[in-house]
């Protein structure tokens, strides 16, 4: 009992700290809004009611949903292709030598350039939008996964060979677990990158999604809606982080002490 009680304390106090600091932020915002022109900085209450209205008429959920769908699709494609390229580069020095300069080029290519070129070359359509996000994300995944592939322990692959593990078993139980921390790292950095790029892609060439809505409300000078969308978006990202990413990382790292 004594131990479980002390174990509860850190989580409780963390929740208290989180609640307290968020509350303080809202308070500062409310005070600032009281002095500012409501068109420039609406009060937290006004933004909350805008958000509720958006949820009720279905618009907010629709656009946030579109954005999340784009994020999900481009994220998975980018992870798949980026991992394949990264692992190949980590395993084969020849491959690495050849593609290393390409990787550097794409890493330094501004996201905006890829987006514009994709729209010009493929038209203002969904595949072009997804391609633009994917192209921006692949180099980051590849670089991380290359490190992972280089860190693979020869001891374990010898073990797999000597203990007659099939290719699939070796991949599934020997290779993948060693790559898991690198997957986790590129997932984290990748998601935060993809969120941001998707908004720009939507702003420049789509007719729905959070990015498109932000553009619309920018033109209408509707700060309350801009803030409502921003907060809704941040909330969804945080929920995914807390209820999908973190549990997955915990289960992958169960064996670590």
């Amino acid at each position: 009992m004594f131990f479980s009680a002390t174990a509860m304390n850190p989580t409780l106090s963390r929740a208290a700290w989180l609640g307290g600091s968020v509350f303080a932020l809202i308070l500062i915002w409310a005070i600032a809004a009281a002095f500012a022109d409501p068109r420039y900085l609406p009060s937290p209450l006004k933004v909350a009611s805008t958000m509720i209205a958006g949820v009720q008429n279905g618009e907010l959920l629709y656009h946030v949903g579109m954005t999340i769908a784009r994020v999900a699709v481009s994220f998975f494609i980018a992870m798949l292709i980026g991992s394949a390229i990264g692992i190949a580069m980590g395993r084969s020095p020849l491959f690495n030598q050849f593609f290393d300069s390409w990787l550097t080029l794409f890493l330094n290519l501004p996201a905006l350039v890829t987006i514009i070129l994709c729209y010009i070359w493929f038209g203002l359509n969904e595949p072009a939008a997804i391609a633009a996000v994917v192209l921006n994300k692949i180099p980051n995944v590849a670089v991380t996964m290359r490190e992972g592939a280089r860190a693979l322990s020869p001891d374990y692959s010898q073990m797999a060979q000597v203990y007659y593990l099939s290719r699939w078993k070796t991949f599934r139980h020997v290779t993948l677990p060693q790559l898991a921390p690198f997957f986790a790292a590129s997932t984290r950095s990748g998601l935060s990158l993809v969120w941001k790029i998707v908004l720009v892609v939507e702003l420049l060439g789509r007719s729905n999604g959070v990015g498109f809505q932000l553009q619309t409300y920018f033109q209408l000078f509707d700060v309350a809606n801009i803030l409502a969308y921003t907060i809704a978006f941040i909330t969804v990202v945080q929920l995914i982080e807390m209820f999908a990413l973190q549990p997955w990382e915990r289960s992958v790292n169960r064996w670590r002490q």
Binding site: D155, Y156, M159, Q161, V162, Y163, Y164, K169, W255
Partner: protein, 262 residues
């Protein structure tokens, strides 16, 4: 019946990493009969591990031939490394189960072996949660799970205290008696060799060749008696002068060739 025919004409490591090219093994030939427990001793750096890697098929870059005869179907050549090399993200049970080809009853076989090596209470522990001695017990269970026709062992009990090592040796002998197999056991510890082997091969310093081939005829009782072991060791000149090293740092691949202490 011959289980293992080793005939390595030459094994060279090419120059690289600031090291000159280096002949690890030369004209190394010997036969092992089925069911023998053979210990290979020799100064550290003689290429004993290199030889095991070649026999296990991990190193195919050598001149010579290795012939193995595993006996009945389904028996295999199994290699136990110096370090346990258990997968840290799988429990003891999962590590043993992994090598059992998903056959029916694999779990029962694995649990039976884990029980036999004395890890029943730790079947669901991760390797990082148990001691090195226990990890080595788990590695023994995994090795025997494959039903070895030939079992190669590379100093599997090194860097344990003498009590723990003796416990593991007794366990190995017990497993070997209940599941007869041909064992090729590399060690630098001649006492360990006398305790375990039915036959001891003594290697020369690198490039390794066979220097002595000594049958060990001690009874099980004598083997557990340190005085009889000492007496046997002293009775044979091969254990005396060339290398009286009892403990030194074993090199991982035998490349760090330094002649043993005088």
């Amino acid at each position: 019946m011959i289980a293992l025919d080793v005939s390595i004409l030459r094994k060279t490591f090419p120059a690289g990493g600031g090291q000159a090219a280096y002949v690890a093994l030369q004209d190394l030939r010997f036969l092992v009969n089925k069911g023998q427990f053979v210990c290979v001793v020799g100064p550290s750096g003689t290429g004993k591990t290199t030889m095991l890697n070649i026999i296990a098929g991990l190193d195919t870059d050598f001149d010579g031939v290795i012939r193995t005869n595993l006996g009945e179907d389904g028996r295999r050549l199994v290699y136990m490394f110096q370090l346990p090399r258990l997968l840290p993200w799988r429990t003891v049970l999962e590590n043993v189960e992994l090598v059992l080809d998903g056959e029916k009853g694999a779990r029962d076989v694995a649990l039976g072996l884990i029980n036999e090596v004395g890890l029943a209470d730790f079947a669901h522990a991760y390797p990082g949660q148990i001691s090195l001695g226990m990890q080595r017990r788990a590695a023994l269970a995994r090795a025997f799970a494959l039903n070895p026709g030939i079992l190669l062992m590379d100093e599997p009990f090194v860097s344990l205290d003498e009590n723990a090592a003796d416990g593991l040796r007794a366990l190995l002998i017990k497993l070997w008696r209940s599941r007869p197999t041909t064992v090729l056991f590399v060690t630098h510890d001649t006492r360990e060799a006398v305790k375990l082997a039915t036959r001891i091969l003594v290697f020369t310093p690198a490039p390794a060749k066979l220097a002595h081939d000594i049958p060990v005829t001690l009874s099980p009782l004598d083997r557990s008696d340190s005085q009889s072991v000492e007496a046997f060791r002293r009775s044979h000149p091969a254990f005396g002068g060339a290398f009286s090293v009892v403990s030194d740092t074993p090199s991982l691949n035998g490349r760090a060739a330094k002649s043993a202490a005088p």
